[in-house]
């Protein structure tokens, strides 16, 4: 929506979606039920959707429109977070829901969708704008895009966009192959690659923190920052998703996409403006600046782990190899830790440690920026070395989103005794209002044509390029798994990796 029109009031109006139809492939799947439909309903609740809005569900299951609406209603009631369910609102929202049964393997099914969309356009005045959301197996992305193009659905009087979820390929080569097929059907600016981590409020807040304040950016470089630790820990194991996870692993599932995007957000240069391409250009530049490891460097800079039996709190947890659907000699990494270096003037020589894992002691995602210690230890004699504690800035992504600054302070009383203290900013307490879910933000962005928080193909390729040598090296190794107990902070090799730099992992 243009901000130039005379009726607009940018100071007060919330962004509203333009009229459109959202076509969800995989409409009977888990993602649609748990995330997409609750997010769309919530957008309707907040009055963000245009009067001309419709959702078309597509999947193989035979269903009537009413049956689809009933299923979606149950899902919204069950999975709607921090929001009331309003029966009247649902009634109105559901008028825009309809369903088409079809198998993506059958070319005729795309013709059926085209016919149905024409009816939807007549009934709801969606201005022929269509967002195709592929909530399907990644292996079907290219096939669906080609089916849409063959049926002429990739072009119309209004705009056409296609949203796909990670993984975008399973390595650099397959990512490029996928792109080659997608770009024959849709232009790059019509392809929205969703990374729900970037939709999280606190990840977006990293940019506000860095570029909305004047005091931090001067310190944000190799002169003042010693190293950066990015942690995404899960306290649970794979919990029944062993078969899927066995094909992915921690490096592919988390580091290649989510955590490298987070790292790019932390380390990128300021964009010239907060526009989609300006921000993504800077993220992409940072990802391209990551030093690519030679095969002989991987062992020292990347650690794979897999959990064995252990405890999560008071509960006993089975090892990964004992999970259903997992091979008893699986070589899948349920833990990965990597040291990345960035070859640019700002970050030369500053290690970025990234780790992620299942069955770790707690669920926490955070970025810890450790500053260099004060150049002169003038209080050493009086404080038993307390002043050598480095300052640390913690950007917590979950669970309690916020920012903490650790520094030393004088203890009350005579003498000069120092002790570390923490200054906390708690996102939830300073802003009591409800934060939108990542999917609400990202769906509204896609419908509004704002791709700032979506991943571009050059970013996808740059992040695959950064992890490809690690994947290649690991496939040549036979790991002695399991190498960490469930409920612990990962294998000892990860500690040794940091010890080589004189660092230790923070225990969040």
């Amino acid at each position: 929506m243009s901000q130039e029109t005379p009726l607009q009031d940018p100071l007060r109006f919330h962004r509203k979606a333009p009229p459109c139809a959202v076509v969800i492939y995989g409409a009977n799947g888990d993602l649609t039920k748990r995330k997409l439909m609750p997010a769309l309903y919530r957008l309707a609740y907040e009055g963000r959707l245009a009067p001309g809005f419709a959702v078309v569900g597509v999947s193989r299951t035979a269903m009537t429109n009413d049956e689809f609406r009933d299923r979606m209603k149950e899902s919204v009631k069950k999975f709607l977070e921090d929001s009331p369910f309003d029966e009247d609102l649902w009634h109105s929202f559901a008028q825009g829901l309809s369903y088409v049964a079809g198998d993506v393997g059958d070319p005729a099914s795309f013709g059926e969708v085209a016919k149905h969309l024409a009816v939807v356009e007549q009934a709801h005045k969606t201005e022929d704008n269509v967002l195709f959301y592929l909530s399907t197996q990644p292996s079907q992305y290219a096939e669906i895009a080609e089916g849409l193009a063959a049926a002429g659905l990739n072009k119309g009087k209004g705009w056409r966009r296609i949203v796909i979820e990670k993984p975008f390929g399973h390595d650099l080569e397959s990512a490029r192959a996928l792109q080659a097929r997608l770009q024959k059907c849709f232009n790059e600016n019509e392809i929205y690659r969703i990374d729900h981590y970037l939709g999280k409020e606190t990840v977006q807040n990293i940019m506000a923190f860095r570029f909305g304040n004047g005091i931090f950016e001067p310190l944000w470089n190799r002169t003042y920052i010693d190293h950066v630790q990015i942690t995404a820990a899960e306290s649970i194991g794979v919990e029944g998703r062993g078969a899927y996870y066995q094909e992915a692993g921690a490096l592919r599932d988390m580091i290649q996409n989510h955590l490298l995007q987070v790292m790019a957000t932390v380390a990128m240069e300021p964009a010239s403006s907060f526009t989609s391409d300006a921000v993504r250009d800077e993220r992409a530049k940072l990802l391209r600046a990551i030093r690519i490891m030679r095969p002989d460097q991987v062992a020292d800079n990347a650690v794979a782990g897999q959990y064995g039996p252990g405890r999560s709190g008071s509960e006993r947890v089975v090892g990964f190899r004992q999970e259903k659907g997992v091979s008893p000699d699986s070589q899948t990494d349920t833990y990965a830790a990597v040291t990345f270096l960035v070859d640019n003037w700002r970050w030369a020589g500053v290690p970025f440690y990234i780790r992620t894992g299942k069955a770790l002691p707690k669920r926490v995602s955070e970025i810890a920026i450790q500053f260099r210690v004060a150049p002169l230890a003038m209080f050493r004699k009086a404080t038993a070395g307390a002043e050598t504690v480095p300052n640390m800035l913690i950007l917590r992504i979950q669970p309690e989103e916020g920012i903490s600054l650790k520094f030393v302070s004088k203890r009350p009383g005579s003498g000069m005794q120092l002790r570390p203290v923490s200054m906390d900013f708690n996102y939830g307490s300073s802003f009591g209002e409800r934060s939108p879910s990542a999917y609400e933000t990202l769906l509204l962005d896609a419908i509004s044509g704002d791709a700032t928080l979506y991943t571009r193909q050059d970013m996808v390729e740059a992040s695959w390029t950064a992890v490809q040598p690690i994947m290649d090296y690991w496939t040549t190794q036979k790991f002695n798994f399991p190498n960490y107990e469930a409920g612990t902070w990962g294998p000892k090799e990860a500690d040794e990796m940091l010890a080589r730099w004189g660092h230790t992992w923070r225990k969040p």
Binding site: L7, A50, H124, K125, S430, G432
Partner: protein, 316 residues
């Protein structure tokens, strides 16, 4: 008549300091209690003027809701008729966010003053404002609006918020006066039509309308209707924008907007029904509670040029 005890801002600030020392102390010596503690939160000074008769619980509830989005040092001035009175007390409002271990607390100063002491109130409140943060005055007291002392009170705030739809509240004339004096002003009657305006902006975008009629319930257009009418007129100078009342006894709120002969937008509580020829559409139109409207207004501590333009058009 007994002399009223003098109130010193320094003493109030000292009491606030002591208050925080006390509520920051753990209730027990166990480790969990010490881990939790309280978080002092403050993003602005919110100065509310209310008539003493106003339900204390209602105001307290409003402030408690506001605190969550706009943690502030709240200064509540209760204005009463009658004898010489001036007193103050300090306390904190705390809440425990769901799933957290640490309480969040905001401080509150309550001042009770008779009309003849309003001039003193300005001298007490000014030093209580938190430095470097916005100061917003919420003017709910009809008495204060009428009082001469208001000239001393208004400079205390960076922004003055009123609700012209409330009985006895400042009207368009007083609001215009605030703007003329260079104040930032906000009116909840204007905030109340934000969602309706936003919907109209979306529906009318790119459309050249020749005639728009804003229909309202009642014999006289209420503030919301007048704002809506003036806004449309100011934004669409080539469109004839008319007002039409139902003539019944009602509060003058906007009910239907007719655009030329082919588009009707019916405003019912919480929703808008849109008829375009044979297409019938619907849009959710969230109705803001007073607290939500205030929250929205507290987000804007700068001149709102669109509001000011519309208000000037009404008062011209």
């Amino acid at each position: 008549m007994p002399a009223v005890e003098a109130i010193k801002p320094d003493k109030i600030l000292k009491e606030l300091g002591e208050l925080w020392t006390n509520i920051g102390k753990p209730e027990s010596s166990d480790e969990e209690s010490q881990d939790g503690g309280v978080l002092r939160a403050c993003a602005m000074t919110l100065i509310s003027f209310v008539d003493d008769e106003e339900d204390a619980a209602a105001l307290s509830e409003t402030l408690a809701v506001l605190m969550k989005e706009h943690p502030s040092r709240a200064v509540v001035v209760r204005v009463k008729e009658g004898e010489d009175a001036l007193s103050a007390r300090v306390f904190a409002q705390c809440w425990m966010p769901f799933g957290h271990r640490r309480q969040i607390c905001c401080e509150q100063v309550e001042i009770t003053a008779s009309m003849d002491r309003l001039a003193d109130v300005a001298a007490i409140v000014a030093p209580l404002a938190v430095p470097d943060l916005p100061r917003v005055i919420l003017l709910r007291s009809a008495r204060v609006v009428r009082a001469g002392a208001i000239r001393k009170i208004l400079p205390l705030g960076d922004k003055i918020v009123v609700d012209s739809a409330r009985p006895g509240a400042p009207g368009f004339g007083e609001l215009g006066g605030l703007l003329d004096a260079g104040h930032i002003a906000g009116d909840l009657a204007w905030t109340r039509i934000t969602e309706t305006r936003s919907l109209l902006a979306q529906i009318l975008e790119g459309r050249k309308a020749a005639n728009i009629t804003v229909e309202y319930d009642g014999k006289e257009a209420g503030p919301e209707t007048r704002y809506l009418h003036a806004w449309l007129e100011s934004c669409l100078p080539d469109t004839r924008v008319a007002l039409k009342g139902s003539g019944t006894a009602a509060c003058g709120k906007p009910r239907t907007i007719r655009v030329d002969s082919d588009l009707t937008i019916q405003l019912t509580r919480g929703c808008a029904e849109i008829e375009r020829g044979d297409v019938h559409q619907w849009a959710n139109l969230p109705v803001g509670t007073d607290e939500e409207l205030l929250n929205a207004e507290l987000n804007i501590v700068v001149h709102d040029h669109i509001f000011e333009r519309v208000l000037n058009q009404i008062t011209a």
